[in-house]
């Protein structure tokens, strides 16, 4: 039996990778993927706890997160396409027209 802490460490590593990717990458698609990585890192900790405590609600949460992530991906990709059509760039540093 793999101990719970292994799962949680892996989950934390995944989440940290996601955060780091989000912060350092300029390409908006990569940033998007980093977000997915963070979500899935959290998902892993959910299912790990669910297995440990034999509770069903952890699984349910994961399904919710997946559904929301799918919806978010659909909307997010649509925004990215619209953005690319108007600005012809995917570099996030050049999308700053709303700054003060």
């Amino acid at each position: 039996m793999v101990p719970l802490s292994y799962y949680l460490v892996l989950s934390a590593i995944l989440f940290a990778c996601g955060v780091t990717g989000f912060l350092i990458k300029r390409n908006i698609i990569t940033i998007f993927m980093s977000i997915e990585l963070m979500l899935n890192g959290v998902n892993l900790s959910f299912v790990a706890f669910a297995a440990k405590w034999h509770a069903l609600s952890g699984h349910v949460f994961v399904f919710f997160v997946m559904v929301v992530a799918a919806a978010e991906a659909a909307v997010g990709l649509a925004i990215i396409i619209a953005l690319f059509r108007t600005r012809e760039t995917l570099n996030i540093d050049q999308v700053n027209l709303l700054k003060l």
């Binding site: 912060l23 996030i92 540093d93």
Partner: protein, 659 residues
């Protein structure tokens, strides 16, 4: 007390106010005739109402008072909108409405060519409203409203030609100098409230009656009386607050006649007479009043000798005559003061109006040195002005003689020094008035030839004789003639002390209190012989003044210049009005301006108030300027902030959990 008929006293002041409102709000669209019609109707109606009251005089029981509404109520203290009529206010009412109405008529002609016709009559009616409020008020506070209101009207009318800097400055000067007097008046009112808890004339009078005269010199009645005197000094142009009146001559001449000769400036005398109960119980204050009056009468008269502007001579003459009135009040001869107030309103109003007529006829020239020989060209003006001059000089049987003689006699009874100063003043008065008359109307014409009548000043619509000096229209001469008649007969009401007896009920307490400290004035018949002697002396002084003026300004016109040269220092002191204006500028105005600009403006206003407000605004801007950089528009920096925040929250929760 039997029931009085309802006199509707409140209508009297309200009538001119209505006229002022109509002309003020709509007058701009009216024709000149309509403006004059409105102004004359409402002013005349007030005069008519006053006459209607006189007609019922025998059926009235004085004092008559009428309360309209409560104005202020605070605990047991209350002030009403109430009007009050007794013999004193009746005299004032008639003088104000009567002379005021005549001057309104005169103004119709005098101001015809001037711009702002409706504005002028609106102000004039407004003045009548406040003046009538002043004389009809039944308490000090309502009187104060009128008091301030006439100051406002005076300010507006002095500055009527507001495009001229000197006129605007003169208006401000009058207003500011009057503030000093009003300050004293207000403090006196506060003292009255503190001690008697009322401002009503009758109640104050009743409350003061039991007090004995403060012979020791000091006491709150003396304080109140002196403070009231300060107020009166400001309004009635007495030393040391007289400086505004000569400058007030910047206003149109009818204004000088109405406000600065006949009515407003006598408000101080009226107020002192109205407060006679207080003054009688403060003998040292009365002495101060008498001294100020005598000094003012004398000094203003001496300044009048050397003035060359016809209106300035009359202005100093007004100050001097007001000094007489105060001298009368100061020797507790209040009815003599009011008598002189009345006759003075007639002849000084007439003098100003006639001077206006002269100025009008020579096309705006006011310098007497450029006049001369006018009597043939403007005989009516000359005739009326001669009457007024004889009246003010105090030659019987003209009006000024009776009132001035009464004052001199009462002054002699009190202290012969007052009498001597009064006599000297009478001599000087006679001299400078006849000097004015001779310089203006006799000798050779000294003005510019051919262009006497400046056509720029008088528009082409001038209805009558162009070219050269011409007599004024009858709308102006009519009031002159009526006032001339009054200047002759106006004094006759004083024969056999009838005027004195008429006012006696008002000053009834006068006799008892006055005898208390005068050591018992003897009965009148005993003093008749002395009175006759004094009368002859004062007539002699007036005649001497006339003869001197005749000699210097008619027979030997070169002589005055030589005399002036021989007493260079004294002459320049008099001609420069003793440098009082310059003195005040150095002592009061300049330091005040300096302190205001350095301490109040730069120090407090800019340094403290502005600095606080600007400082807080600057701080807010600097803080937000720094915070603004958080909104960089860089998505990754936002994410970084979110990450830092989340880390901080988690760290905090971990710290909480492990504690």
């Amino acid at each position: 007390m039997t029931e009085n008929p309802n006199l509707y006293l409140w209508i009297i002041p309200l009538l001119p106010l209505t006229g002022a409102a109509i002309n003020g709000f709509f007058g701009k669209r009216f024709s000149r005739q309509a403006v004059a019609g409105v102004a004359l109707t409402f002013c005349g109606a007030a005069f008519g109402w006053a006459l209607w009251i006189v007609a019922q005089f025998s059926s009235l029981h004085f004092p008559y008072s009428q309360t309209l509404a409560t104005w202020i109520r605070s605990g047991s203290f209350s002030v009403d909108f109430a009007f009050y009529l007794d013999q004193l206010s009746l005299v004032m009412l008639l003088v104000v409405t009567g002379v005021g109405f005549l001057i309104h008529i005169y103004s119709v002609g005098y101001m015809w060519e001037e711009g702002g016709y409706y504005r002028f009559f609106s102000y004039l009616n407004l003045f009548m409203f406040f003046m009538l409020t002043l004389v009809l008020a039944s308490n000090y506070l309502l009187m104060f409203i009128g008091w301030e209101g006439v100051g406002l009207a005076s300010y507006l009318l002095i500055g009527f030609f507001f495009l001229r800097d000197s006129a605007a400055a003169a208006g401000k000067k009058a207003f500011i100098v009057n503030r000093i007097g009003d300050f004293g008046f207000l403090i006196a009112l506060f003292l009255l409230i503190q001690h008697f808890n009322t401002l009503d004339f009758q109640q104050v009078s009743a409350a003061v009656q039991p007090f004995a005269p403060e012979t020791a010199g000091a006491g709150f009645l003396t304080a109140i009386a002196l403070l009231l005197m300060v107020g009166a000094c400001g309004k009635s142009a007495q030393i040391p607050l007289y400086v505004w009146l000569p400058d007030a001559m910047e206003g149109p001449t009818p204004v000088s006649a109405l406000i600065h000769a006949a009515t407003m400036v006598t408000a101080g005398v009226y107020m002192v007479a109205r407060s006679h109960v207080i003054f009688e119980r403060a003998p040292s204050a009365l002495t101060v009043v008498a001294i100020i009056g005598a000094l003012t009468a004398f000094f203003a008269a001496t300044i009048g000798i050397a003035q060359t502007d016809i209106k300035k001579v009359l202005a100093y003459s007004t100050i001097s005559q007001l000094g007489y009135m105060f001298l009368a009040c100061g020797v507790a001869a209040f009815s003599a003061g009011i008598f002189h107030l009345m006759t003075h309103a007639f002849f000084k109003g007439l003098l100003f109006l006639a001077a206006g007529s002269v100025i009008h006829s020579v096309g705006g020239e006011q310098d007497m040195r450029k006049m001369g020989g006018l009597w043939k060209k403007i005989p009516w003006t000359f005739g009326t002005m001669a009457v007024a001059t004889i009246a003010i000089a105090g030659i019987p049987p003209f009006a000024g003689f009776f009132s001035k003689d009464e004052i001199l006699w009462r002054a002699y009874e009190s202290n012969w020094i007052f009498w001597l100063v009064g006599l000297l003043t009478a001599f000087i008065t006679s001299f400078y008035m006849f000097r004015l008359l001779f310089m203006t109307f006799f000798g050779e014409y000294r003005g510019p030839i051919g262009t006497e009548h400046s056509h720029e000043d008088h528009a082409a619509s001038h209805g009558h004789g162009h070219g050269g000096i011409h007599e004024s229209p009858w709308v102006m001469l009519g009031p002159l003639v009526i006032l001339a008649v009054l200047s002759i007969v106006g004094g006759w009401v004083g024969i056999h002390h009838r005027f004195d007896d008429f006012l006696a009920p008002v000053f009834a307490s006068n006799a008892s209190a006055a005898t208390a400290f005068e050591g018992g004035a003897a009965t009148r018949s005993d003093e008749a012989g002395l009175e006759t002697t004094l009368m002859l002396v004062s007539v002699g002084a007036a005649t001497l003044g006339f003869l001197l003026a005749f000699l210097l300004y008619n027979r030997k016109p070169k002589l005055p210049g030589r005399i002036a040269a021989s007493i260079q220092g004294l002459y320049s002191a008099v001609a420069n009005k003793y440098w009082i204006d310059e003195f005040y500028t150095w002592i009061f105005v300049k330091p005040l301006v300096a302190v205001s600009s350095v301490v109040f403006w730069r120090g407090i206003d800019q340094g403290v108030i502005d600095a606080t407000l600007d400082g807080s605004a600057d701080t807010a801007r600097e803080v937000s300027d720094n915070l603004r950089h958080m909104q960089s528009g860089n998505l990754r920096s936002y994410a970084g902030w979110v990450a830092v925040g989340a880390t901080a929250v988690i760290a905090y929760m971990v710290w909480i959990g492990t504690r």
